[in-house]
């Protein structure tokens, strides 16, 4: 236990060598706590930790910090997301201290979607520091017990540090190096962008294994079930850095009326099955976007239940 960095459930699951399973929950567009609890409840006991997104796609929602704290009070484990778009280093560090004080133990450090995509494109973007520097700052706070300026912290935040990796963005050749940089900066675990192009991901994870990166950091493969051919096409064409191969779109189209969603889940289940066997993959991060209620079924069919006791 003493070598635990945070003592979070996610950390314990990964350190014990279990295949981790994380979920995701977007806070509501309002202060409706009941709605938030309703959204997060299907994830309880079905995943090891739940990512609480931070104004995802630059749309204003309840603070990820608040939603994460509510999740803690519900007896679940959040993976508190923080983006660099909306806060400078002062706000970030104070939120990190606040998060730890509220019982949050996992944190995911992200650049954040540009505000242009969101519902307040007029906003000023901050980007005082970038995601790499954020990872490094959280590590400094935890391991050295210092703020970014070197001043001592009274009771440093002991957080399990996460980061994202998108193997499908360009330039592909540099993606593995950027992953290596994030690990060097202090990432304890990585959650990847939604994977659809398995060939490309195999190539990516093989490089990570060859470079010894998977020995230094836990990599969780990102899975998002495709609910419809329309969603697949939208992701393929409109979401930057997303790679959805044509054969998957065709497979969904061919599934026939009323059976597309089931086909989407089947694709995810096949992926999860392969990830379980894939060298270098330590778990799956299931991003069932606005489909939280389907998580228990997916978890069960993927053979992820019961989640290990740690």
């Amino acid at each position: 236990m003493n070598d635990m960095k945070s003592g979070s459930r996610l950390e314990k699951v990964l350190k014990a060598g279990h295949f981790a399973f994380t979920g995701e929950c977007g806070p509501p567009k309002g202060a409706n706590v009941e709605k938030l609890k309703e959204k997060m409840s299907p994830l309880k006991k079905n995943v090891d930790a739940v990512n609480i997104t931070d104004n995802q796609t630059a749309v204003v929602r309840m603070a990820s910090l608040a939603a994460s704290a509510i999740m803690v009070s519900e007896g679940m484990e959040p993976n508190y997301q923080m983006v660099c778009r909306d806060r400078n280093r002062l706000a970030m560090m104070s939120d990190i201290l606040g998060a730890y004080a509220l019982g949050i133990r996992n944190m995911l450090c992200l650049s954040g979607d540009h505000q242009k995509f969101g519902n307040h494109p007029e906003a000023k973007n901050v980007y005082d520091i970038d995601s790499m520097q954020l990872i490094s700052m959280v590590k400094q706070m935890r391991d050295k017990g210092e703020f970014l300026n070197g001043e001592k912290i009274d009771d440093p935040p002991r957080l399990f540090i996460g980061a994202a990796s998108n193997p499908f963005a360009d330039p592909f050749e540099f993606r593995i190096h950027r992953l290596a940089k994030k690990i060097k900066a202090g990432a304890d675990f990585i959650q990847t962008q939604c994977i659809y192009n398995m060939n490309k991901f195999r190539k990516f994870i093989n490089m990570a294994v060859d470079m010894g990166l998977t020995e230094k950091c836990y990599i969780l493969a990102g899975v998002t079930p495709l609910k419809s051919a329309g969603m697949a096409k939208y992701m393929a064409s409109k979401v930057p850095g997303m790679d959805v191969p044509d054969h998957l779109i065709k497979r969904l189209k061919d599934a026939g009326k009323g059976k597309v969603a089931e086909e989407g889940i089947k694709i995810s289940l096949e992926q999860i099955e392969e990830f379980k066997q894939m060298k270098g993959v330590a778990g799956v991060h299931l991003m069932a976007i606005e489909w939280e209620h389907r998580v228990p079924e997916i978890a069960k069919r993927a053979g992820m239940l019961p989640r290990p006791a740690v």
Partner: protein, 222 residues
Amino acid sequence: MIIADRKPIEEIFEMIKEFDKILIVGCKGCVTVCNVGGAKEVDILAAILKIGRKKKQKPLQIDEKTLERQCDLEYIAQIKDTVNKYDAVLSMACGVGLQFLAEAYPNQKFFPAVNTKFFGGATAHGIWEERCAGCGICIVHYFGGLCPIARCSKSLMNGPCGGSAEGKCEIDKNVACIWDLIVRKKMEHERLDDLLDITPAKDWRSAKDGGPRRRECKELIK
């Protein structure tokens, strides 16, 4: 140089609607080079305003003057005898030029006829792009001579982010992903190792974040 863009003509008409006699002051510096506020553009704007106001039966008297540089006390002194004879003055220089006029002639009203956009240059005839954010401490040499502060939409110092696709930035297909260019250049020169170290958080005090800036050259201050 400083790149500007002329304001929509309706906005300019609105600004000067109550005046009968105005002066338009151009600048032979950056705004002449980027075809927005030199003698030629001053002339065109004067013509448009005169015709527009004539149509509205409210004729406007306009004089024109294009200074060597509007950001230079020596040159703006050239209008000291005439500037207060007008109801208002339209400046076609950048925001610096207009403010130099406003500070030098506190009894006159000055209006901007252009929007000051960025520090950049022409990449093709009629196209100007941003290159510098004026952040105060230049670091472009670490990135193959390309500036991620000015040219990455998120000013990432450890890019590229996950939104880089086919060399373009996620915000707009017309915007190059500068990190794609940085990485490719380093790969071509077999210097990718330069990008493997983490660039630490920047000290923004040298940028606008540290408050309004000032440069002093001791040799010149006597």
